[in-house]
Subunit: 642 residues, 2 copies
């Protein structure tokens, strides 16, 4: 159940989920509360007064008894359990006067998550189980065992094609399974890949096992693998698990993995590592659900092109060398066990096809999930990361490209950058007059560093508060202890050493800002170049879809503010979360949707940006916050000048 | 070039091939010449006078110089090199009178070998090579390597389907093959199994290798494997080889092989042995033709149901137990290397489908070869052996059955029985008055024993000469040293110890005769039961096709005489030799003919004879030479009474 919170004196009302952290609720509402320790309860700055309603708060850190009795609490330690009216105390300036709060116009906005994007699907998976009671053979009816099973399947299905069958795994056990189960068996059938193709018997189990039919959807990321287990009888997700890709020991990004693969035994080692990670996910899920891995009858996976090559043991060498050619962009249905995956020998592993070396099956799966190939609406599909992938188009055509944004969005190349894990600053506000921070970390610990979404918050807040200018340089005129000349450049202190988990000041530097500007500039230049190549611009767009987990955490307004996303109608933005996993999930549940995947990859044309002069021009123009051409960012122009 | 021989005083003229052995020519013409040593030149009995023409004779064994000067020679040592007039000297009886020759009416007849049976086929094999000069990738055209190959194949073929492709063997080498060969490669394509199915790329070779495209047709017999190598660019047979099935050490027949397969490790051992034999054939052929096994791009094989199971490592256990159910009657396209066959990893091995446990792929291949499935003529297809297979039908329907004739036709269960190899008596005549034999052995050595075709000759000659009666019992009234009471039963001495290779008398006994009668009785009862089951009789038949090597050696008239074949118009008989190999050969050359194979196996219905009371009745009635009902054998009735 949701609760309503009214913040005073800002007069801002938000609706939050039951149990939400009060500080996080304020941050998301754009209400500034001083908070220096990330939500850990140690700095004691985020004192607020509960004027109406109740909060749950297990400890009263840094609060005097009388304060507590007067209704004060630390916002970072309070969970919302009823509708509230919350008053934020006025701060006292050094000159003794109360600081008049100046509520910001910026209201944090997330892109819309819309289930309608992924459309309708029915439970009709690409693998099915059929229970058969067969007549035992007699002298007058002594057709072969396999042909008896095939006949059993055809029975009552006059127009269906003769199924094909697996060999030889199936035939080795078949006669014994049939006789031991007294001719009552369950056949596992794989549907033909295309409409006209016959089904295929991949396994036979004794007795009736039709109630146990599971599929695994798998997103094979360079950093993380995510798996979800689906009950293919109901289409419901019943378990999920994720694990770091064990290949990380051989390099953080795809390029270093390719380099490693060229060593003697390197390809094999990398394949072994990703298979090990998949097995870890399968084991975790099976333990959780008390099922056997052999109850999983299909694995539907998507990964980028390099991950796909490595999983299949195909050499990715030429992906790295111009003109960036993968060995194959389509990967046929594989037997999972042949790869070393902990699965029944009959289980198939499908890998989504790629478009190019740097636009992989994860993107195809995502585009497939959101049905761009079926919609007349002109859509921009974006997956922001070290390698940013961009697709634009609709049901008639699609163009895609990849641009190397650098690792800033994943915390790389930033002095205190880190991955989005516990202690990472994920949300940030700055007081427009005191320039003090309000920092919220993941899991509300003391801060350890800054993750991608935090970085976007910080830069847009510093820009709006005038602490930095549009070139990403600090305003030297401001005299504030948090703004200082650092070792290499000017910097802003986000957290003092005493409030940080790492025992030193956590800062953001001009060098960090420069790296972020390059990253967001590359993405923006990518959108423009791709759109221009088809004679279009942002105004032609009907929708912008943000894919990737990162997309879900982006504060839309702030991302537009720094120029990472185009300044268009906010209602056009949607996010799809882990789109790659969503695509795999839909394909696993509905074989008719699955069959449509080939339309997607056929429709998409790749464009190489790396040597495009147009891209370079757009990139240079985007090296500004938000852009050198402010007419492209009318709402930001107003905001910054206001 | 053929030569004409006129034999005197019999006044029989025959046309023979240049270089034919004179004794064999006489035997085939039904002209009796005394010959006790099988053609080895040692008995010196087969003295004839060359009245006109010339023979080649390297030695004048046992001939006096004056005889030689008068134009005499030993028929068994003479090769025909010109047209001849040959006089056979009159023999002198014990009473001093010349024995008047009484020419037999029996003229040896072989069934007709007719190429029209196998019909038209074109050179369009199920595997083909395509040389491609590909454009190297550029930034504007950087599709994946595999997709570049696929595009190259589609070029200039607007309506052809996108080929599928092998994985992962193909993808592992592809990027390197392409770059090392400067993008000039030969793709090996497997045609879709059915009309609508797309082709499949199974391998890519550097450069232009289209001139090297070979296929191996293989007959996998219980005793012998025969292989022929075909140049798939021309359709010509360019080499052949055969080898004993190395499984023989584990049992002579399919039943003992099944029994062995049930031991621990037995199935694997048997699979290993047949694969070893296939590899021997491949090695022999490759050495002979100076080609590499990797130049063989397809293996088309046919074998009986047990051999097919064993090759694929599928348990044949239930083939032996009533109701005689194989694990599978269809065997999907296998990768030869996966079975251990010495072949490129891409090479497919196809095994003809079986109909039932005892009517296997060899029979389907044979029926396929002679196009019964396309002809309106009612045809009886017979493969005589330990396991006799019988198919009757036409383009609309076919029935088949197997009957266990016992091993008599392969020399088993016969005191001096042996396989058809050097020293086996393969042809026999008896002098109707002296009761002396004329024996011809394979390779003209001294006799070692009797093979199947020899046995049929011997029994029919003894019957016609009245030495045995229609029950297969010796006429005790004849007083002749060759006809005697043996250890267990009466017997006829075919060769005295001095004329035999084994140093003892070679005989045929009443027990042998009894075994032969059972064997031929089972075959005959099989034909009748099968025909009756569809309301037909021998008079409805348009054709009788004899398959198997044995069929080619059968003397038609004699086989009818003993009741092994029905007494119908001799012009209706055809023989097809190793029909199984012929079927595999045609399928290897012409993929459209290959695709028709499924019509064949779909059309054939199996009938189990083992428990049929009708069969037992017919069997009992056939335990007579030729049959208890002589009205079924009108020409034999005349002959025996004449």
């Amino acid at each position: 159940m949701s609760k309503t919170i009214h913040f005073l004196p800002d007069n801002v009302t938000v609706i939050v989920e039951d149990g939400e952290n009060l500080l996080a609720a304020a941050a998301n509402a754009g209400v500034y509360i001083p908070a220096f320790c990330g939500g850990d309860g140690v700095c004691g700055k985020c004192k607020v007064k509960i004027k109406e309603g109740e909060v749950a708060s297990d400890q009263a850190k840094r609060l005097k008894k009388e304060e507590h009795d007067q209704g004060y609490c630390l916002a970072c330690q309070a969970s919302v359990i009823s509708d509230l009216v919350v008053e934020i105390p006025e701060e006292i300036k050094k000159d003794g006067k109360a600081l008049k709060r100046n509520p910001k116009t910026t209201r944090s906005i997330s892109a819309r998550s819309l289930d309608s994007l992924i459309g309708e699907w029915v439970v009709s998976p690409p693998v099915e189980k059929r229970f058969l009671k067969l007549d035992p053979p007699t002298t007058d009816d002594n057709i072969a065992d396999l042909q008896r099973v095939l006949r059993g399947i055809r029975k009552g299905c006059s127009d269906c094609k003769e199924p094909t069958y697996d060999h030889p795994a199936l035939l080795k056990e078949l006669p014994f399974t049939l006789r031991e189960s007294n001719w009552e068996i369950t056949a596992i059938l794989l549907r033909g890949k295309r409409q006209r193709e016959p089904d295929r018997i991949i396994a036979v189990e004794p007795g009736d096992t039709t109630d146990r039919l599971y599929g695994l959807a798998l997103d094979i990321g360079t950093t993380t693998l995510c798996g979800i287990l689906i009950d293919l009888n109901t289409g419901k997700v019943i378990a999920e698990a994720s694990a770091y890709n064990s290949q990380i020991g051989y390099g953080e990004d795809v390029i270093s993995r390719i380099i490693y693969s060229q060593r003697a035994g390197g390809l094999k080692a990398l394949q072994g590592k990703v298979v090990y990670t998949i097995n870890t996910i399968i084991e975790t899920i099976c333990k959780k659900m008390i099922i056997s891995p052999s109850d999983i009858s299909y694995i539907m996976a998507a990964g980028n092109t390099v991950m796909s090559h490595l999983l299949l043991g195909i050499d990715p060498k030429y992906i790295r060398e111009a003109p960036y050619v993968p060995t194959s962009s389509h990967f046929p249905l594989t037997t999972a066990a042949d790869l070393g995956v902990y699965a029944h020998p009959s289980v198939r592993l499908f890998l989504y096809p790629a478009v190019a070396s740097y636009v992989g099956g994860d993107i195809v799966s995502g585009v497939h999930a959101c049905q761009m190939h079926k919609s007349p609406e002109l859509t921009l599909f974006i997956d922001i990361g070290t390698n940013g992938e961009i697709v634009v188009g609709n049901q008639d055509w699609m163009m895609c490209t990849a641009c190397s944004a650098g690792p800033a969005f994943e915390g790389g190349g930033i002095q205190h950058g880190m991955r989005a894990s516990a202690g990472a600053i994920e949300n940030f506000h700055i007081h427009p007059e005191t320039f003090d921070p309000m920092i919220i970390t993941i899991e509300r610990t003391k801060p350890r560093g800054i993750c991608g979404s935090g970085l976007i918050s910080i830069v847009s807040e510093l820009l709006e508060a005038g602490v930095i200018d549009q070139q990403g340089k600090f305003n030297r005129a401001i005299d504030h202890p948090r703004i200082r000349q650092g070792e290499d450049s000017f910097e802003y202190v986000l957290a003092w050493d005493k409030d940080s988990l790492i025992g030193e000041d956590i800062v953001i530097t001009e060098i960090d800002l420069d790296n972020l500007i390059r990253a967001k500039g590359a993405m923006y230049a990518g959108y423009v170049t791709l759109l221009e190549s088809v004679g279009m611009g942002f105004n032609d767009l009907d929708r912008v879809i943000l894919a990737g987990n990162f997309g879900a955490y982006i504060d839309l307004e702030r991302a537009i503010c720094i120029g990472l996303l185009p300044d268009i109608d906010r209602d056009k933005f949607y996010y799809l979360g882990n789109a790659s996993l969503v695509g795999a999930q839909i394909s696993l549940c509905d074989h008719n949707r699955f069959r449509e995947r080939s339309q997607v990859s056929k429709l998409i044309t790749n464009m190489e940006l790396s040597e495009s002069p147009d891209f370079m021009t757009h990139y240079m123009a985007a090296m500004f916050l938000p852009h050198t051409d402010m007419s492209l960012f009318p709402t930001i122009k107003d905001k910054l000048s206001g």
